[in-house]
């Protein structure tokens, strides 16, 4: 190790090779090594963003109205933000000469009348074109470790797919509220609202996956709960990586079992650390 470090420090006196193209990446060194082992290298840090307006009045629901109310404007806004942001990310990847983007960090923000979705990841390309380009750049939020495992199992990522559902659970009337005092009961309107929002979102995500001939969606992330600014609105957003089988059949990975011999030690007193 010491000789390698000496060689590294000694090399600082030399200028970088003129053939070296500047590369930016948010990958750790472990991820870079793993990626290299697969035949890929990072080319550039890429981003994609979309901010969509949600019309005024979307989240306003009449007091005391009966059942759950679907809010298609909000649903469409988030779905459209996902699609446009993802397309911009893919465009940046293609411009950088990448064949796909790995480790994509997705940020979703619903702030009153606007919905924004941001993607940040590292575009990758095959080393010296060892691997065939998959055509349309793939996009995945899988970490490089998961990407490697997926590839070893014979699968390949296609794209990020997403779904969203927004359903309002109207505030119940005074009579109903008074009748429930002192009782433990299920709140059927809110339960049903959550269920509808979830079904809508999952359905959209699966439909998007089917449209690209994916076999399934892995590593699904779910953001759900009441909206911060409109607590009566149940929101359900989900996204994940659509994958397809590229090997003839699934390749079984058989991990070895290891037993760590070092005990996990917890210090109770910070003074002895």
């Amino acid at each position: 190790m010491a000789s390698e470090m000496r060689a590294a420090v000694a090399a600082l006196g030399a200028a970088p090779s003129r053939h070296d193209k500047s590369v930016t990446s948010d990958l750790s060194i472990d991820e870079t090594l793993l990626l290299h082992g697969m035949g890929y290298e990072p080319v550039d840090l890429v981003t994609g963003i979309s901010i969509v307006a949600i019309p005024y009045g979307t989240f306003i629901v009449p007091y005391g109205q009966g059942g759950p109310i679907e809010l298609p404007n909000a649903t469409e806004a988030v779905a459209s933000a996902f699609q446009s942001g993802s397309e911009r990310l893919r465009k940046e990847c293609a411009t950088a000469g990448g064949v796909g983007v790995v480790g994509v960090e997705v940020e979703v923000d619903i702030d009153g009348p606007t919905a924004s979705v941001t993607f940040t990841g590292t575009a990758v390309t095959p080393i010296r074109h060892e691997l065939a380009s998959p055509g349309r750049p793939f996009v995945t939020d899988l970490s490089v470790r998961d990407f490697v495992l997926l590839e070893r199992a014979g699968w390949a990522p296609i794209d990020l797919v997403a779904g969203a559902g927004f359903v309002a659970a109207p505030v119940q009337g005074v009579r109903k509220t008074l009748a429930q005092i002192g009782q433990n009961i299920e709140l059927p309107v809110i339960t049903r609202s959550l269920q509808i929002a979830r079904e809508q979102a999952m359905d959209q995500m699966q439909t998007a996956a089917l449209a690209m001939n994916a076999a399934g969606v892995v590593d699904v992330t779910i953001i759900d709960g009441p909206l911060g600014h409109s607590r009566h609105v149940c929101a359900f957003i989900c996204y994940g990586t659509a994958i397809r089988l590229v090997a003839e059949q699934h390749q079984r990975i058989e991990p070895d079992l290891v037993l760590a011999m070092d005990d996990h030690i917890e210090f109770q007193a910070s003074a002895i650390r």
């Binding site: 470090m5 420090v9 060194i29 472990d30 307006a53 290891v258 760590a260």
Partner: protein, 292 residues
Amino acid sequence: MTASESTSSAWSSGLSTNDFAACLDSGLQPLGFVQGCSVVSWNFYSMRSSMVGVGFGSNQLRGYSEQYNCPHGFVSSEHRGYGLNYQMTWIEEAWTEAFGAAKRRLLEEATSLGAHGVIDVVDRSIHHVENSTFEIALSGTAVGIADVARPDRPFATFLAGQKLNKLVEAGFAPVDIALGITAVGVIGSCITEYQMRGGLSIGANIGNWGAPQKGEIEQLVRAQSAARQLVRERVRSELGGDTLHGASLRVRTIDTGEGPQIEAQIRGNRVRSFKAFAKLAPPRPVIQLADR
């Protein structure tokens, strides 16, 4: 007492025990804890609104700017005539000057100790006095290595310990820490304001009937994309063929009351390839048996 004032042979460092062990393992010898800081201020924030009022058009701005003209013509005094996305170069310049000065001081301290480089650099940035005064402080551990000529300028890296060792084993030499910032201000056009408020804006509403309430807010998307693009271009332009490794891109949007201000910051390790990248053998998957 700063490192340069130290006269004893004992040294101090910010390294954890693990990082210290890895540091010795790689032949690096800690020489001292080194620091550098700089405080700067700018006074341009308050001029945002006057930029519209006095017709501070895009021709007078440096760097990126885009103007969004109102399609309605004159409607009322409250109806905004045009919107503007503009690069806030004065913030970038102040920030770059502060970072450059802090890094120069850090490296000067390291040089005075006879160091080859500074590892485990920690950066800290603080806004003082609302948003107009800004401090950048850098600290790290100066290290030396035996039997190697000192480079003209010590290297610097955020890494230390096994992460630094793995980087070197992979064939990359640490060169420098890279930080860049870009700020883009947004003065919303009548349509942007209308969309950002969900179509509810008494002043902006006049004349906006029929404007799209749905769909992308183009001006904001362009501003956010520009901030991210500019900061990456800024850092990339300083790499000179090197690689920015382990970069983190952080963006924050500040609501100044006069429109969003988008600040994009990127930081990472500038590294240089010094030997061919050795292909890693396929890693062996394992499952760790654990109590919980």
